[in-house]
Amino acid sequence: MTEVFLLLWPKAKSIGNRFKHRRASDLIRPIVMITLAFLFWVVIFAVFYNVLVYFKSIEILGEILLVKLLAVVFLTFFLMLTVSNIITSLSTYFLSEDNKLILSVPVSTEKVYLSKYLITLAHSSWMVLLFGIPVFIAYGTVYGAPITYYLWVAVILLFFLVPPAGIGVMISISLVNIVPAKRAKGALVVLFVLLLAALYLFFRFLQPEKMVNPERFSELVDYLAMLRLPTSPFLPSHWATQSLFPLLKGRFDESMFYFLLLFSTGLMSVLAGSWICRLLYYRGWSRSFESREVKIKRAPLLEGLFNFLLRPFHGSTKAMVIKDVRIFLRDTRQWSQLILLFALVVVYLFNFKALPLNKVSGISFYLENLISFLNVGLAGFVLSSVAVRFIYPAISLEGKSFWIMMSSPIELRRLIWSKFWTSLVPLLLLAEILIILSNTFLHVTQFMMVISTVTIFLITIAIVSMGIGIGAVYPRFRVEDVAQIHSGFGGLIYMILCITFIGLVILLEAWPTYVIFMARTGERSLTFLQLIEVIFCFCLTVLIILTAIFLPIKIGLKRLSRIEI
């Protein structure tokens, strides 16, 4: 066991050193992160608490619903954990930087397996803990559970995390013996994203809003009560549910059988994993070095199209845009996110199509136009979320190859603007599709259509500019995982700034838009004072948008030019 801890020591020490060498000014970042995580917990707790209280109040079915809901929660966690463990273990066992060192020292395969297992478990499971703990606290609060419940929740959760990790490790070690690690990881990431997108679309198309209708809600209750899927007796999620639920009422004895099942399966999965590791790990490890010889065929049509579209640009800008597009399309981790984006757009538009505005007699015309205006803000928020994932990391994605840019005779201004143009075109396209289609579904007036398309056009330019600019202020060239770029402090600052900016624009435009809209529908002209107000508001909006476009780029450029590598 000493050797296992010794293998884990560098990781633990690195984390410790990171905190040890932190300056007082660096404390802002963790404080913001902890505050946000806490707020997130509070929101999840509040939502679950209300749902559980409501379910509990339903006669006869209430208890069944609460068990089913818990089973659904555990099943979802179990599936997510399994997939996440497969992907993570591919990295820890086969693609990690320290593997060459660890495998060259005289430590047995079992010890390597166990140390990597613990790292995989920690990496894959923290998210479930983050989401799960407020849910289980909500259950305890609703039932007024004894203190032993909370202690046992910790133990059950810990053992619930073990089987998916064991299964994940076993699958990945076996898989790498068939397909080299890098390719397997790429394929799994796509599969995972497809699964998420499908789940998202599935739940949306169930039209849960119809359940607000009492008649339809009873259908949902019946459906959930009849649902058999999460209660398969062979799944650890079922054992976790069955061991946790009796504890809510202090029935410890009823819980033990399923807890022991969970415990023994967890241990068994660790042992089985160790056995498979001894058998297959070295073979898979050797295979992970096999490089993929991929001959890339030239696509003259696509190249011709790009050359045509980029004609107004300087040769080096053109080269940088083409380079970025190529890298994006060839990196599975990046383009696979487009699948989720597609699902997001479909659901977004579906929401507008499904709005029951025609049922609100008399005021539907006003409502449609009001929603169209608010839609600009909502679309701006969606675009910001897309931008934080795809545009904010643009500079950081240069990674360790940034020396190429720094040593080339191109001005950093050109680099920043090339990133700007590469990002602007697709985001503008997405923005206008969202706004024009949703407005069409809403049957808004021509005036509202013009106002919202022009506003979103300008907002999008600013969102892109802020993404590139703030991305240049907080570049992260040395991350191992792309996701680390946007999930950092800079990404958070970017989102906060975007939301503030969008809110400000919407607020400033609301009054003049309302005044003009009312005047046009009432077929009267604006008073002189109204005209002055309208002009002032619009001018101020334009000023804010222009500031949001040019200031971040300027600050980003200044910061980037000070960078030394």
């Binding site: 040769g315 083409i322 005779p409």
Partner: protein, 247 residues
């Protein structure tokens, strides 16, 4: 062609490069020797525009690398010690990209690419993703990229890392040929044998200071004068950098 005037770089309290003065002529191969942490890479990074000097100046082809970075970079071909490249591009795409950054014409780029891939024995690999290249192949690709725009100055940090004997021989030949064509080469290395074989003049750096400079025979004479005995470049290096000779 290269001129360093009182060039200094500080990282907080640490003085990595301390008031270095030197002049490298056109067509000269200048070797920068020194133990780990002597300041070789920092000097190279300042010359290539990756780091800004704290004080002093670095001139390449008459251009100050801080005041006129674009003009200076246009004449430099940089070969870093670690070949971090765009892994999702093919070799040819990468070279085409570099050519465009240096403002080369399409036909010119194409001609140079086929010539360089052939020269560095990478033909047949040009259309494959860089992620499938070995370390040595990546190093040879970086060298091709550095030579693509016919630079007047080549700056090399540890040129032979990751190369096999055949490739080392090839690189030595290319550097000598480029020097004869009038290209200035500024290289840092730990490998004394390479410095001895390639360089017209050597500079020895220790603790950020340039402690000796001259041709090999000039440096040997210095050693003889200081210690009263003759020796090799290795003994000179160890004497000057303060390491005791074991033999």
């Amino acid at each position: 062609m290269i001129e360093l005037i009182e060039l200094t770089k500080r990282f907080g309290q640490l003085v990595a490069v301390d008031h270095i003065n030197l002049h490298v002529k056109q067509g000269e191969i200048f070797g920068f020797l020194g133990p780990n942490g002597a300041g070789k890479t920092t000097t190279i990074k300042m010359l290539a525009g990756l780091l800004k000097p704290t004080s002093g100046r670095a001139l390449v082809d008459g251009y100050d690398v801080v005041a006129h970075p674009m003009e200076a970079k246009r004449v430099i071909g940089l070969i870093p010690d670690q070949p971090f490249l765009y892994e999702k591009l093919t070799g040819v795409e990468f070279l085409r990209f570099i050519g465009s950054l240096f403002g080369m014409k399409k036909d010119d780029i194409q001609w140079h690419i086929s010539h360089l891939l052939d020269l560095f024995e990478l033909d047949g690999w040009g259309d494959e993703l860089i992620e499938s290249y070995s370390h040595g192949m990546k190093q040879r690709l970086v060298m091709s990229a550095a030579l693509l725009h016919d630079p007047k100055v080549i700056i090399v940090d540890e040129p032979m890392v990751g190369l096999d004997p055949k490739a080392i021989n090839l690189v030595k030949r290319i550097f000598k040929q480029k020097s004869e064509e009038g290209v200035t080469i500024f290289l840092s290395t730990h490998t004394l044998e390479i410095a001895q074989q390639l360089c017209h003049r050597l500079g020895i750096l220790n603790g950020g200071k340039l402690i000796a400079m001259g041709t090999l025979s000039e440096l040997m004479k210095t050693l003889e004068l200081e210690t009263g005995r003759t020796g090799t470049l290795e003994s000179l290096f160890l004497t000057l950098t303060g390491k005791a000779l074991n033999d």
